[in-house]
């Protein structure tokens, strides 16, 4: 991939992300309809100490790395 192509790709990526954030797209689930999803049973609160401990145990006992998904949500959701 040439430098010019890479530069164009960078600009397009940044532009796409900027546009997406403000894009008016029809939403089939309104914010006020997401009450059930906001329940801690569905979206558990981030438990950083517990998830850090689990990650350390997995890293010490298993060879796989990356894309760790905490059990049903938690810190990985960006909380």
């Amino acid at each position: 991939m040439t430098r010019a192509t890479l530069r164009i790709a960078r600009v397009l990526t940044a532009g796409a992300l900027s546009a997406l954030a403000g894009c008016a797209v029809p939403t089939w689930v309104k914010p006020y309809e997401q009450e059930r999803l906001a329940d801690p049973l569905v979206r558990p609160l981030c438990e950083p100490l517990a998830e850090r401990h689990l990650a350390a145990v997995r890293q010490a006992t298993e060879g796989a790395r990356g894309a760790v998904v905490s059990a049903g949500g938690g810190c990985g959701r960006g909380q």
């Binding site: 890479l6 790709a9 960078r10 990526t13 940044a14 532009g15 992300l17 900027s18 546009a19 997406l20 954030a21 403000g22 894009c23 797209v25 939403t27 089939w28 689930v29 309104k30 914010p31 309809e33 997401q34 009450e35 059930r36 999803l37 329940d39 801690p40 049973l41 569905v42 979206r43 558990p44 981030c46 438990e47 950083p48 100490l49 517990a50 850090r52 401990h53 689990l54 350390a56 145990v57 010490a60 006992t61 298993e62 060879g63 796989a64 790395r65 990356g66 894309a67 760790v68 998904v69 059990a71 049903g72 949500g73 990985g76 959701r77 960006g78 909380q79």
Partner: protein, 365 residues
């Protein structure tokens, strides 16, 4: 490796900047103030690690939150692949971390740094994560970038004998599918360089112990998908699958399933099951047939599978004030691991059971 990491690192930082500066599409909140103390324990395969850990998180103004963490691990290691080597049988590891969460135009930017110290290893890491909700809050885009630089020592030598550097980049999406269902998808790229194993670990070549020889680079990819569903006002279910593979030819599958149940106004219980299957690294041998450029008998790189049921309990223990709550949390995981190509001292395929325990008390305000 340096040129590649510079190229991909530049792309990641640019994407992060774009996400931060983009027009806000939905509200994002700072995490709540929290003070937590946890006792953690792992006991399995001759290795016991336990200790306390603490977290303090407090808001500074309307858009910034500070957090600090401190972990202590008392490590007693009698693992079968380290017994008989110079690795210390008992040592203490400490880790300190600080971080900031910053609300920037409804994107949440998280900065974190950590350092860990043990007698023969020093680790330092830094990470940046960005999360932004778009499309009316139905979609959350997550970007992550992390770097680590570790110094490797050998007991008796005050100077580091080698280093290990790490690079992680992650992209994730959380998507609301209906009023009761949402899913997540994540992809991560990893790259490690340097001394990536233990200076004490021995391999076995034609029955003779000799120091293991690992490649000095390791490049990996991981993909994960998951979903959570509300099954009513008191029950929820979740599931996830992850595929991870790397340049050492190691490939692993992870499947997790679980169910959460609310019991009254204060209790909730969770039952989960984790299944893990790993095909070992190409240079892993229980007893290498002949001299090879790379060789290891680290069972972490072997071919094995494990099954781990777990139970987690949360209790709302009290409300000291109208704006604060005290929660007590307990978690117990019992796992069974069976190896295809790692043997014990008697020459039989090795297997072990392990217990993982977490007990914590937290006040959120």
């Amino acid at each position: 490796m340096a040129a590649a990491s510079s190229r991909y690192g530049g792309m990641a930082l640019l994407a992060l900047a774009a996400a931060v500066l983009a027009t806000p599409a939905a509200a994002t909140e700072l995490p709540a103030d929290r003070a937590e103390w946890m006792y953690h324990s792992y006991d399995g395969a001759g290795r016991r690690v336990d200790g306390p850990s603490t977290l303090l998180r407090m808001r500074i103004g309307e858009r910034v939150s500070f957090n600090g963490t401190y972990f202590v691990e008392d490590i007693r290691d009698g693992s079968p692949d380290l017994v008989g080597t110079a690795s210390p049988a008992r040592e203490k590891r400490r880790e300190e971390g600080v971080g900031f969460d910053i609300l920037a135009r409804d994107a949440l930017v998280s900065l974190a740094g950590a350092r860990s110290r043990e007698p023969d290893y020093a680790g330092n890491s830094f990470s940046v994560h960005v999360a932004q909700a778009v499309f009316g809050g139905m979609t959350t885009i997550r970007l992550g970038y992390a770097r680590g630089l570790d110094d490797v020592f050998r007991l008796g030598n005050p100077n580091p004998i080698d280093t290990a550097s790490r690079l992680r980049m992650r992209l994730g999406v959380t998507q609301v599918l209906s009023t009761r269902l949402e899913m997540t998808a994540d992809v991560e790229a990893l790259s490690d360089l340097g001394l990536l194993g233990s200076p004490y670990r021995l391999a076995r070549v034609l029955g003779t112990p000799e120091p293991e020889r690992l490649p000095r680079t390791r490049v990996g990819r991981a993909f994960a998908v998951g979903a959570t569903a509300s099954l009513g006002s008191t029950r929820a279910a979740y599931g996830s699958y992850r595929l991870a593979y790397d340049s050492w030819d190691l490939r692993a599958h992870t499947l997790e399933l679980g169910l959460r149940q609310r019991l009254g106004a204060r209790w909730s219980v969770e039952g989960g099951l984790r299944l893990y299957r790993q095909d070992g690294a190409s240079f892993y041998y229980d007893n290498a047939p002949a001299g090879t450029e790379h060789v290891s008998r680290n069972r972490q790189l072997a071919t094995f599978h494990s099954i781990a049921p777990a139970v987690r309990v949360n209790v709302l223990a009290g409300r000291p004030t109208a704006d604060s709550i005290i929660t007590v949390r307990g978690a117990w995981e019992r796992s069974r691991t069976d190896y295809d190509d790692f043997t014990d001292a008697a020459g039989r395929p090795y297997a072990f059971d392990a217990n993982l325990l977490q007990l914590s008390v937290a006040i959120t305000f």
